[in-house]
Subunit: 767 residues, 2 copies
Amino acid sequence: MSVAVGKSVPRIDGREKVTGRAVYASDLKLPNMAHGKILRSSYAHAKVVRIDARRAEALPGVFAVLTRENLMSGAPFYGTYIKDQPIVALDKVRYIGDVVAAVAASDERIADQALAAIEVEYEELPALLDVDAALAQGAAMIHDENPARKDPRYGYGASVVRHDATNIFYHFHYERGDVERGLKESDRVFTETYYLAGAQHYPMESHVSVADDRGEEITVWSGTQTPFPLRQEIARMFGLPQSRVRVIVPYVGGGYGAKSGVKYEALTVALSRLAQRPVRLRVTAEETFKTLSDPSAKVTITTGVKNDGTFVARRCEVYFDGGAYANSGPTVTERAGYRAHGPYRIPHVKTDAYCVYTNKVPGGAFRGFGGPQVSFAYESQADTIARALSIDAVELRLKNLLDRGDLYTAGNIPIDCDLKTELKSVAGAIGWGEKSAPLQKPGVRRGKGIACAVKDGGGVNKEANAMVQILIDGSGLLFLGSVEMGQGVRTALMQVVAEELSLPPAKIQVAPLDSASTPFDRGTHASSAITVMGQAVQAAARDARAQLLALAAELFEAPAERMKLADGRVSCGGKEASFAEILRRHFGDLEGEITGRGRYKVERRDDAPLGYPATFWENGLAAAEVEVDETGAVKLLNYVSLTDAGKMINPGHCLGQEEGSVLFGIGHALHEELVYSAGQLVNPTVMDYHLPRFRDLPGKFHSIIVEEGGGTGPFGAKGIGEGGTLAAAAAICNAVYDATGVRVYHVPLTSQRVWNALAEKSGKRGE
Amino acid sequence: MSVAVGKSVPRIDGREKVTGRAVYASDLKLPNMAHGKILRSSYAHAKVVRIDARRAEALPGVFAVLTRENLMSGAPFYGTYIKDQPIVALDKVRYIGDVVAAVAASDERIADQALAAIEVEYEELPALLDVDAALAQGAAMIHDENPARKDPRYGYGASVVRHDATNIFYHFHYERGDVERGLKESDRVFTETYYLAGAQHYPMESHVSVADDRGEEITVWSGTQTPFPLRQEIARMFGLPQSRVRVIVPYVGGGYGAKSGVKYEALTVALSRLAQRPVRLRVTAEETFKTLSDPSAKVTITTGVKNDGTFVARRCEVYFDGGAYANSGPTVTERAGYRAHGPYRIPHVKTDAYCVYTNKVPGGAFRGFGGPQVSFAYESQADTIARALSIDAVELRLKNLLDRGDLYTAGNIPIDCDLKTELKSVAGAIGWGEKSAPLQKPGVRRGKGIACAVKDGGGVNKEANAMVQILIDGSGLLFLGSVEMGQGVRTALMQVVAEELSLPPAKIQVAPLDSASTPFDRGTHASSAITVMGQAVQAAARDARAQLLALAAELFEAPAERMKLADGRVSCGGKEASFAEILRRHFGDLEGEITGRGRYKVERRDDAPLGYPATFWENGLAAAEVEVDETGAVKLLNYVSLTDAGKMINPGHCLGQEEGSVLFGIGHALHEELVYSAGQLVNPTVMDYHLPRFRDLPGKFHSIIVEEGGGTGPFGAKGIGEGGTLAAAAAICNAVYDATGVRVYHVPLTSQRVWNALAEKSGKRGE
């Protein structure tokens, strides 16, 4: 019988969080701590001619004004894949919101006054405000020399194409078969272009870092998703060995990709170095909008099919508006490119995905990581094809979907779930094939849509380590580098330890996350924690258990194989002893502990387009029923999502993750859009940026989580929490088409876009 | 050539401390933190009849008033060996300063006001103010039932004698041979009784704890010397598994034994539990005086000798005034008893050592740990014997001292240094046998004295664990539970890692001390860290090195034995690679680390009087030259100390430790004394309590540190830092005798005591 796995054990951080006792970076107060503020560019692209900080420095209460003049770092550029972003502007600024200077002062009010006293002289340059402008013949280079050229090792896969004299900073290429021949041999060829707006993560906690540079040692507190890569970057930039840089992660109020890699940590360290005291820098929600976004995308997809619906060839071209700095754009692009042809059996495939510098807020990691952009395209087009061939949209997909055990590409693990059965479940749940209920209002039309997508899971997390201790009183302590940012990962992995040790969850605690004590991990992203870290945790728990059983075997004078574990006790024959008794017999009352260690490592594969196989396949299926009125307003009547968790470690958390993920998908499909005007992001507040609210929830909303047991994680678990973002936009657009007969190629489906499409179809023109 | 060991590498905490950036518990500020204050008893012994906290609770800004009425702990008693001390007074108070109640308020001023508003009604009981009163026929029991009876396992050795219906709470007994027969067979028998006043540790940092009880989890920040035993006690008292109690040790401003075991941590947790918020409690220096002291002692020593000076038999009786609670009194008593006969070849020995409850400040661990008390007695008596037999005092000792390799008792490691040669060195350095320089002033007399003592080193620290990581950039990280309290232990053990890995010290950092990440350790006391933890650290470093060499062997395709390490690089034949290159080749640029682990464990020995062998022998030799004037004032003209470090890991630190330790010895010999009047400690401030100042330094002061290589620590190292306390009182008293012909049996040697002795000899009587 299960001790903990499969149970909705309450979160270990729940009580702290609901009682307000949980400590976030913003709550930290260090002795003599100064407060930081940032001066940002109001130009999209300009040379910085002169900076004069003297008036600001002279203000009482100002400890330091950081500019390019006094930057005490030998390596002031950072970036997860391309080191192209300086701590503060050096030669020029590259977007409205770019960091020009920063102040550390005795309080935030004085820091604000000091910002106003910094004089900056700019020389404006032509701004490149979209991908077309940036790729136009003769366009200026946003980075004078393409910094991607300098890095010999960026990107994992072999599928990287280099571009020197353009603003393209990443190009992924994949092909198999002969796509030109495939298209020629097809009965019908469909080409469409889809557009997706940029979006904002909007974590409830904005970026906050606290840094204490003490010369020989630096400590950084940050709500980061990647404590160890952050340690590596800070060490490199400030010239210290990694052992002298300590990254501590308090609770994190949401990440969604926004908190990967360096954000403001290096700036805060530089301020602390200059001010010679600890500095806390917390940016506003508006500044968070100007830090990182989900990049807007343009996806052109061409599919050749036989008249019976069989897919023959697919050609994909993906362009991301990468903004001013590369950030994790390269991997987002790589993954989007790899996922662009969808989970179908297609003999001939060719994909190119590009990420392009523009003078806008940098783009990068975002829940779904390139997946939602391409699945919007291929699952919308599946609908187009089905209608053109008069084949049912579900039937068309069933004809072409990969089966469990099939290879998505060479060099990867096989598909680990039954997509066809899943698709039928979703179709059944929405009442596929049944007519929508009769309408109350004239001019209002209803329709249903469906979509099915997958995403290779585990991301770049190819190594994880964990440690499990059994203390002298028989309680357990788990050390892991996975960041708790609301998803419940530390509770779920504690449950894995509880299960392996047969120890009640209340007796196990998860140690705080501190790079100076936690075993190495690559970061918390790509739904990787349960499968990647989970395997390390399980191995560590098993190592601890083996050590415990060896001591029990001594005590009971019987082989370890004969021992049984239950509820923190070991029994053998008629004898039994608690863990505490076994440990005390071995160590004495006051001493000792057992320490188990576990490591998980994915080995490189030369035949893998991304260099490594995935850890699992995350999937997202959805069916939607919508109502569209004459103004173009789209209302979600019913929404069904489905994902495969492999095995749910904590069903309550899984459901929360799936529902949250769906809401992200719905937000992007219907509401969320970063709106720029002349390079200025004009809606960087939740007053103007439409996050989904309770009233935006579908009238009926049901998430199905299946457990197909095929995951590589503990007990067959797979990662979860991104699947729901994949199918939403296509399912909803397909439903709108079903209702209205018009296809909207651009999400979010604002009523204006829908009305324009309706008008175009009926011969009227929208503005 | 040595990389780091044997070099005076600068302290890793040096810059932080001199720039004021180092964080101590007192510097911590947590969100919503309350401030604690303690209400203390003004009665030495009284029943607590009634406590009424309602007025105090009603004051604005008061969050909690903790009394026996609302103590939310199922096990409110604590104590390292005997659980006899309640968090706050339950039935009665037992000394002036005993904790009656405590307040948590929004600031310390309001907390003080609240203390004044607590009403307490006492019923006074007769106070037992010294050992004689406490042991008198019919004396009241200070603890109604002797709590020592309840604990089945207190003390390590077999040599524990139990007492039920007395105030004796610990009795150590040791004998070998037949002491009665030995005394009968002796030519001369000498019996003397020596007295030592109680003393105060006076760490520069008073006791400070911060506690955050969050119901399911407790975090305590404390400048404790024993983080893991503290975790164990807090878990037991507050009903949590140890995995849910976290003890973090910031920098510690001096310990000297005062900060072992629970001090105010449990009280602070109880306040936090009641106030439902974090609480910081920092006591004043005066309250630190009333927390723990070096217990006063009475030592009666009887020695039988042959006329040629050969020691035949020795009988020792030691009584400690243990104060109101046991604290570490049991082990202090055990060690004093074990050390009482001195490092001499004596066929017949019998020792009884007792610790007795009185209504005074509790006694317990103090630098030297019972050693200075008994060495004062046996080394003073060695002088008495030498003079009575007209044998030179150095010759008498040389005749009887143990040789290197001799056993002090059965069941212990042999003496690990050459005490005879050391004694000759000290004698030579003071000009033994040469007359003191001619005097300038009439009535002023000069003389020289010498003394030689040993102490079994390593204390109760029978297990230690450490971890050494090599990070991806080739830097090193050391995890250890030894507390940095000014002695430099973390720097010295970092040097051991540097040496084992041939890595520059600047590339190695020591991880912070946090029970939720540091491998288990028993505590930092008994000069144990270099030898006990040192062996664990060395083993961990060697484990890490072996793993590194295995990777290098793969890279160079050659056996690991052929690899050479130097300066963070491995070479083999003509090829070489940095640690970073080797790791990156194996793990990739962004991943992985090597983790080495080491454990040190002393096994129990049934023939050992203390249950376990020592880890090493710490020794302290001294010679003093004094000047005594007619008022009895003693002035130190010259002082030579000697100790054996085995091998100095960091010579600068060793010298600092030895000099500091000598100053403690001189302080106790000449100045320091806790003065009580009617149970009230009347000099609990440095205005009235005479700590040694710069002007109290000897006119000439020279510390000799020899390196005999016999230590069990890394590279032959032994512990250091307590030896200097051992011989000071006897060397100075012997010098006073040499100058004046009078022996003072009571330290400190205040001028009044010396004048009384002079007066008694000359027929005058002092008051």
